[in-house]
C-alpha cells in the first residue's frame, strides 16, 4: 500500500464534484486561485448530474437531466483545473489532517489490491459532500427489490438501467416525481407514486413558491410526463409493507390521515418487483464533523453545518456549500458553491444577486421541508420483527430491549444492541434509530449522536498500517 505525495500546496481544495463543489471550484479558479477538486465519482456532477462513465451510455440519458447548460459550463471550467493537474476523480477522501502548509486531504483510489492513498494539500478547504436518501424502516424493507429512490435514479442516470418492470415510488418530497417520470419514460410500468403529504401542503407557502417559479415549471414537466404515461399519483398514501418470497413481489399501501396515521380499512396490495422509497435527504457530514465544524438541527430534522453569510464554517479556512448546510437542491447548492468559491479564493462577493438568489432558494427549501415532513406515524407501522439496522440485522424489538437495559438515546442503544455499528456506520438507520429512541424514552432526538464517524470512507487495514507518524491529529 503506497501513498502518493506532492509538495504542491493548492490555494483551495474542493472536496465533492456535485453542483456545489463544481460551482465553488469554477469560481475560485476563475479568480486565479490554484484549485484542486477531489471527488469519489468517476464522472463529475454528483448525484444530481450523475453521468455514465462510458460514451455509449452517455447519449442515452441526457433527457433525464435538468440544468445541463449549467453542468456543461461547470465541467468546462473543471477541464481547465484538470489540465493544471488539479482534478482527482475516483478519489474517496477518508480523512483530512493538517501540517505546517495547511490541510492534508487523504484520499483512496484504485480498486482492491491496486488501491493506494493520495495526499492533496491546500491552504483552504471547500467541503461539498452532498447528501443521500433518508430512509425509515417498514416491514419487508430489506427484501431485494426495495431500493432508495436515489439508488433507482442513479441506476437510470448513471448506468441506463431501469431497476425493474413494475415499480412503486413512495415516500415524500418533490424528488419522487423525477424518479417516477424517468422510469416511465424509460419503459418501466410505474404502478403508482405514493406521496405521504397532503396535496394542499404547499398552499401555505405561496410566497416562497412564487419567488421560485422556475422550480414549479420543472415539477410541472414531471407531472406532464407522469400523466402521459397514466401514472397515478396518490397523496396522503404510504407503504405499509413490502412482501415476497425472498424478493419483492407485493407492496401493501395505506391511506393516511392528516397526521400521517394509517386510516383503517384503506389497505391495498399491488404487485411490484421494485419499490423506490425516499423521505428527503440526509447530508453527509463525516468530514465537517471530523474537522470540528459546528452543527445545528435543520427544519427537516437533519443535522447540518452552521455557516456564515459567506459559507464559512466555524473552523478557520473551512468553507461548506450545498446540502451539508441544509438540504435545498441543486440550484441552491450551485449558488452556495459560487459564494464559497469566491471567498475561499480570497475575493469578496460583490454580486448581490447571488446573495438574493441564495435567500430565495433557502426560503423555498424551508417551504419544501414544511410541506413534506416525515410523519412520525411511520413508527406505528413497525413490528418487533421489522429490521431496523440492515447491516447488523438488529430488529425493532431488539433495539427496544436496549431501553430496558437503561439506554435512553440513540448512542447508548447503538452500544448495547448494535444498530449503526455495521458496515454503513448508521448512515442508513441513524435517523430512524434516533427518532425511535426519542419516541420510546421521551427525550429529544439526538441526530448528532449517530452522525460522528472517524473514518469517512472505508479503508483496508493495510492503508492504516502504511500511514506513518504524519497521521492526522
Amino acid at each position: 500500500m503506497d501513498t502518493s505525495r506532492s509538495d504542491r500546496v493548492h490555494d483551495v481544495v474542493v472536496i465533492g464534484g456535485g453542483p456545489a463543489g463544481l460551482a465553488a471550484a469554477g469560481r475560485a479558479a476563475a479568480l486565479g486561485a490554484d484549485v484542486a477538486v477531489v471527488d469519489a465519482a468517476v464522472m463529475p456532477g454528483g448525484q444530481y448530474w450523475r453521468q455514465p462513465a462510458g460514451d455509449v451510455l452517455a447519449g442515452s440519458v441526457t433527457h433525464l437531466h435538468h440544468g445541463l447548460s449549467t453542468y456543461r459550463a461547470l465541467t468546462g471550467q473543471l477541464a481547465g483545473i484538470a489540465a493544471g493537474g488539479g482534478y482527482y476523480p475516483r478519489h474517496s477522501v477518508w480523512t483530512v489532517g493538517r501540517d505546517e502548509s495547511g490541510f492534508v486531504v487523504r484520499a483512496l483510489t484504485g480498486t482492491g489490491a491496486g488501491e493506494y492513498e493520495v495526499e492533496i494539500r491546500g491552504r483552504r478547504l471547500v467541503l461539498a459532500p452532498g447528501a443521500y436518501d433518508r430512509q425509515v424502516p417498514f416491514p419487508g424493507w430489506d427484501l431485494p427489490g426495495v431500493m432508495t429512490a436515489g439508488g433507482v435514479q442513479a441506476l437510470l442516470k448513471g448506468h441506463a438501467v431501469t431497476a425493474g418492470q413494475r415499480v412503486v415510488v413512495a415516500g415524500t418530497g418533490p424528488f419522487l416525481l423525477p424518479v417516477a417520470a424517468g422510469l416511465a419514460e424509460s419503459g418501466a410500468t410505474v404502478v403508482g407514486v405514493l406521496e405521504a403529504a397532503s396535496p394542499l401542503a404547499w398552499a401555505r407557502h405561496a410566497g416562497a413558491v412564487l419567488r421560485n417559479v422556475g422550480k414549479l415549471g420543472e415539477g410541472a414537466g414531471y407531472a406532464r410526463a407522469l400523466a402521459r404515461h397514466r401514472v397515478p399519483v396518490r397523496t396522503r398514501t404510504a407503504v405499509l409493507e413490502a412482501s415476497g418470497d425472498g424478493v419483492l413481489e407485493r407492496v401493501t399501501t395505506v391511506r393516511l390521515d392528516r397526521h400521517g396515521r394509517a386510516l383503517p380499512g384503506t389497505r391495498t396490495t399491488v404487485e411490484a418487483d421494485t419499490l423506490a422509497v425516499g423521505w428527503g435527504f440526509t447530508p453527509q457530514l463525516e468530514l465537517p464533523l471530523a474537522l470540528g465544524c459546528a452543527t445545528r438541527v435543520d427544519v427537516d430534522g437533519s443535522l447540518v453545518c452552521v455557516v456564515d453569510d459567506e459559507q464559512r464554517s466555524s473552523v478557520a479556512d473551512v468553507f461548506i456549500a450545498g446540502e451539508a448546510c441544509g438540504v435545498g437542491g441543486a440550484d441552491l447548492a450551485v449558488t452556495e458553491g459560487e459564494i464559497a468559491g469566491t471567498v475561499a479564493a480570497g475575493a469578496a462577493v460583490t454580486d448581490r444577486r447571488l446573495l438574493r438568489r441564495r435567500a430565495a432558494l433557502r426560503r423555498f427549501a424551508v417551504a419544501m421541508h414544511a410541506a413534506h415532513p416525515v410523519p412520525s406515524a411511520w413508527m406505528e407501522r413497525l413490528t418487533d420483527a421489522t429490521v431496523l439496522c440492515r447491516c447488523e440485522e438488529v430488529t425493532v424489538g431488539r433495539a427496544r430491549e436496549a431501553l430496558l437495559l437503561g439506554a435512553d438515546d440513540a448512542r447508548s442503544a447503538k452500544l448495547l444492541t448494535r444498530p449503526g455499528m455495521g458496515w454503513c456506520q448508521g448512515r442508513v438507520c441513524g435517523y430512524a434509530t434516533s427518532c425511535l429512541m426519542s419516541a420510546w424514552s421521551g427525550r429529544p432526538a439526538s441526530p448528532a449522536s449517530m452522525a460522528a464517524r472517524p473514518v469517512a470512507a472505508p479503508l483496508r487495514l493495510g492503508t492504516l498500517a502504511a500511514a506513518d507518524d504524519r497521521a492526522p491529529g
Binding site: G54, T111, G112, P144, G150, G151, E393, V428
Partner: protein, 91 residues
C-alpha cells in the same frame, strides 16, 4: 464483435462500458447476490451509491466489494457472497 462480459457464479453477464457490476447484474435480471451473516437473508442493490454496503460481493476472489461502485470489466470473476465472505478461510 462480441459484447463485453464478466462471469457471475460461473455464467456470463454482458455489460455496456461504463456500467457498474451491480447495474449489469440488475440489467441481467439478477436481483440479489449476497446472504446476510446472521439470518442468511438475500440482499442486492439498496442505496446504489456506495453508502449502505448491502450489495457486497466477491470480486476476483476479494470479498466485500460494493457492486454499485465497481466498474464492470471484461473477464472479471464475480461471485455471490455468503455472510462475511470469508467462508473460504474456515477450518
Amino acid at each position: 464483435m462480441t459484447e463485453p462480459s464478466f462471469t457471475f457464479d460461473g455464467r456470463p453477464v454482458p455489460f455496456v462500458a461504463g456500467q457498474s457490476v451491480g447495474a449489469a447484474l440488475m440489467a441481467a435480471g439478477i436481483r440479489s447476490w449476497r446472504t446476510t451473516r446472521v439470518e442468511g437473508r438475500l440482499r442486492g442493490l439498496f442505496c446504489g451509491i456506495g453508502m449502505c454496503f448491502d450489495c457486497l460481493l466477491v470480486l476476483d476472489g476479494r470479498p466485500n466489494e460494493r457492486a454499485c461502485l465497481v466498474p464492470a470489466d471484461t473477464g472479471m470473476r464475480v461471485e455471490s457472497q455468503e455472510g462475511t465472505g470469508h467462508g473460504h478461510l474456515a477450518v
